[in-house]
Amino acid sequence: AMEGRCAVETWTEFGFLGTSTTPKVRFGTDVFICTGNDEVYVFSTHERKLKASNCFSVKDDLPLCCVSFSLNMTFHSCRAQSSSPDSSSIPAELKISEFLVIEADGVSSLLLVGTVLLTLSQRDSSWLMTLYKTPEQTESSSYEVLGSFSLPLVSAVVQADTESKTSVLICLHCGDTAPLTLPHGHFCLEPVLFKLLFGVEAALAKSPVILCGLPDGRLCFLPLRLPGARLRVLHSIEQPVVFVGASVVTETGPGHSQCLVAMGEQGRVVLIKTEKGRSEDGSSLAGFTEGIVSGPVQCGCLDRNCLYYSTGSDLLLLDLSEGSSGKESKERVEETSRKTLQSPTSLNVSRVVALAEPTSNTSVQLLGLSVRGQLQRISLPARRKDAGLSKLPSAQVGRSIRDLLSAIGDVCERSSVLKTAIKSKNQILRHLNQVVNISFLLTATNNTEDDPAIKEKPIRCHAMTSWSRLLQKDCLNLTCVLDNSSPFVLERGWTLSVTVFPLCCSSTAGEEISSANFSFPFQNLNSGETLEVLLPIAAAGDSSFPMTVNCSLIFSLSSLLGEQEAASSNISLPLNTLTVDWLNALQLNSPTARHKMVTFQPGSITTDPIQAFISSRQIRCSGRADRGAESGSRPEKYSASVRVSSELLKDSLVLKNSNLDPKISLSSLTVHACGPNGATVKLTAKKVGIVFSDELEVQVESSSMTAVCGLHHAVLSRIQVQTHTHTVRLNTIFREVQQNQISGALGVGMTAGQMNPGLLSVYQELRQNPLLII
């Protein structure tokens, strides 16, 4: 019945996209919009501009109903303010009297009738309507309870699935006693219908009647000023009531509404009208006409004879008039006797979440609020006079069918897009869950760092070193193995990050700290699987050992959520730290021993030269190697020694290592090797059982000072010095030595004379009194 399309004019945008709650809107000359949190906007429809926003703050923990309550308060205080002479319009800054809030839980809607404030709230077993007397001045904050009325809940069948606890409250006045101007939510009902529905007594008492639509579908009423009145059920539409209003319907009359309309969430509509002479005794009756339109209904509004409602995807118009005025009365009677609704007309406006009745008289205009937060004026096309049930020409029918089909196609497309979106969101959620689990697992073990027994993380790295020759240059490679022994899968998005930097980085040196970072993104690492990566850590001649290898897992949220949503958020989870020391970096001279060497974090050694060396020592613990540069007779040779009990060696090194490779054994107790800086070193172990029979002396000899220091340090760290003092001291000395080297002429075979004499003496003192560790 409509010609042309609706003109939609967007007035302003509030931008509360994505809020899960429906915004509360109050239309009028000023539109109040509450976005569900703490912001209330006031928009003037005359000036077409936003007058005020964020006028008051509502505490975060207040539920939405309270916000709506506050919204109502806004009106209340507005009224109080508009009485002052200069305020023809609402002041830009609304003054809200501080919490007038009544201590009431679960208020789902409220209404102001004169000086009485009504709240409707759900209790455990009943609906409770409470009447408060509003104070004369807004400053005073006490709302005196006038009375309360309760209505028991129906059995929880309908209740259970209605999570939305919104209810509708309106106030109906009997036609001849109504005040001249009616505030929002107040309607003036035609007297006969009023009396038929609510009784003669309410009319005689000139009492306004409160009508409420409940989420269980019941329409209840309460005569406000009638002694002994109760909250009674008028009708039930058996689905959550979305909208209740009154409409004029017929064109005559002084503007008293002759039809009461209630609309349910699933599209059930009930029209309540007076039916003259329908009962057997010839008196008037209240007629209930029910019909169903396609839902879900989000909001609705009424004008003189049309019901407009939005399903979210479309705005529809339902003509409530009983045929056009030109029809014969006989036909009209027949039509009413059929008790059917006309079919609704689509207006092709989607995403409207709130509607207000038309403000203009000439053409039909609606005010709507879209889900995107746009306040729109929807101008309906002019209605054709001869519209109605007349037959459409076939061309028009074809066109409308085409329109419908394309609309169906649109909806299909939209729904499939939504489905995929939901699916991917679910996947992301599952993925995130794994990530959170892993994070928790790794950070939880982090916290127990004091106890080394629990320190082992279920996801950790092992590493092995190996020398390889590339382009005639030896270089040391680290094979890092990520072992996932946790019950979770490391899925797409994880990256293994390995950072290698020297343990002793000199801050005083002009050089940059030479740290290297390697990232290995991987796809999927199931529980129990390992990932092996190979990375070069040093070239021959590089002497910046020992090196620290930091392993960590990094998860980038952006790969999961897309770039714009998580631009900079990465989760970094440290795994464990490995050390590559001099011992790991040794190249054994023996061709048979030139094979893979394995490094470990302290305490989890498999095979390495020192280990091999120690085990060989245990087998043939006889003989005594040359003492090195001890006496200074061979000044180019330096040596250092450690005395240690073989038990400790076994305890700290050997026994922890059950999978010792038996094939690797050296033929002698002396190992000749080549250090990473090219210097040759000799490692010797011998038994010096003077005090303790098991006492061993481990000696390191080389012509390179750096190599001796490095190896000495490595040996000491390997034996896990329990008393930290020695290590600390050694560390300092070692650092000083290195610094001296770096600051001075860096090179191999540096003579003693070039070195800092003081340092040398300290070192010699240290060397001559080998640490005895038992």
């Binding site: 201590e103 009375g147 038929l196 003669v200 008196s283």
Partner: protein, 635 residues
Amino acid sequence: MSHKMSQPPSLLNKWIQENNELVNKWKQPEKGRDTVRQDHNQPHLKWCSYEFHKLLGIIQGIPPNSDYTQLELAVVYNAGVCATAQAQFSEAELFLTQAAERVLQVTGGETGASDPLVCWRAVLKSVENTHLHPSVLYLVCLQWAIWLATCQLKTIQEFQEEMPSLFETLCGGVGDGAISEARSKSSNIPLMVMDPRRLIELLQICTSIALGAERLTEGQSSEALTGLQAASSLPAPRALVGYTHLLSGSCLTHMRRPQMALQCYRKALETDSRCVCALYQSMLIYRQLGNTQAEIQALRLLHSTLMLPSATDPALASTHLLSPSSLLCSQSLSSLLSVPSALSVLHSLALKCLLCGRVSEGVEHYLDLLAVLHSEDQQGLHTQDATIPRLPELYLEAGAALLMARRPADCLALCSEVISTTLELLPEKVVLEEPEERREAETRDTEGENRVAMVLWTAAAYLLQGHCHSHLKDWKQAVTHYTRCINLLVKVRLKKRDFQPQFSSADMDVQRGKDLCVLQKLKGLSLAGRGISFTQTDKLKEALRDLQLSLQAFPGIFLCTYRNLSLALCWTQQSSATEYRNLVLPSQPGDKKRMPCHLMNRINFLHPVKRNPLSQQTWINRESKLEHVLRVHSV
């Protein structure tokens, strides 16, 4: 106590201090809160309760330890009182049972008794002669309060019987010493949110009142009386002492000693001037005794008391945490203490004044009543007692009163308001069914009933208008309105023809019988009224017909009319009322209270000619004719 401090000084002190701070925080705003109503305290109370609960949780986190037990018991008491004050009885009881178990663990008593009585006995035995004894007694008091608040009077009685000595100790102000000692060095002693002595006092009198009410409803008036009279001398708030007197009065009423009951009610009022129930009960006794003047006086007092702003406040507002009203919540007591609303009292007053001839006073009250109903002020309207007649009937009563006070114009206005309201809804015909059949057809109950009622209301309004016009000697208008009344009444069809209103006695179906009776009486009155109006316009034939029909419709009316006609010359207003009482009332079915007021004294309006000497003559002339005709017919 001090020797305890040495061992774990910091923790114990800290907890005591925390407890005392909470108690002080509770008590501090209490001082400035006299004017604020009780429910404004709720958030504060909730907070306190929560904090005490938290503290208790911390204290009970360590195993039971004799050093802490006294503190723990004090905190249990505080938490329990707060929970009880919020009506969280199960939570409070949980606190108590936990505390009891922990005390038994400390003292080595036998644990595991599920019955609270047994449990408390064991606990009390285990702490006998220790410093814990008073603290445990306080908890017993709290248990008692919970029993009382949950109406477990039987348990309290059992408790009372089983441990009379304990009960006496409890009531005999135990712990006075401990408390006065505590005052001196309050920082080391855990404070209590409510003084246990006040609690015991409260419990004693409230138990007596609740027991008295229970016995009274069970019919054991004399036992109840003994208990209540003993309780009336207990130290307690005035309102509670007032209750004992009031209930004693109710016992005496039951024992058919109205004068003694009146004495008690007066004592109750002297004790507590806001005891409206005593006024109400006195009024009922005056009504029973037939002392109308006193009854009206009592009604007037009752109404003005109810209209006082303080009357809407709970009578038992208390400064303590546990209010007496929360302890007195039994059904029997509240039914004994119930008082009709101010509106309903005002209506009774108006009606009473009217019925006993104080017309102008009655009219004033009716006008007050209508003013209240139409005021914007909603005060007092939202009561759910249905003792007030329905609104149209109230209008008609008020109209009748106005007419009796010779204000026909006002009466006309009221009646036309009723008519305008109902006119559009009047059915073409309505069926008044026989009571038995009506019961089966319950489905259309309200609607059908409303339609019959609507017809009757409108008819009565027309009748009153007819009376007004005849009062104004506008006979033509009178005839019009009587005719409208009659036309309306004939639309009501009786489903069973032979159904006689006289025999539809009270217990059958009061409403329906009443409707029928009202219908017949309205017919009789309107016909008689029209008949008389016809006589005034010299339409004797019609007059005769109407009077005759009136006789058929309602014999009492006819008798009255007949007598009225024959004796009209010498009647005064008083004598007509007497005549009415003697003649009309006995002929009515049931008691006169069931008859709507606006139909009762209608007879007063049926003597329009008595002051007119000229028409007296005409009356005499016509009377002889009428009498002749009627005699012929009755033969």
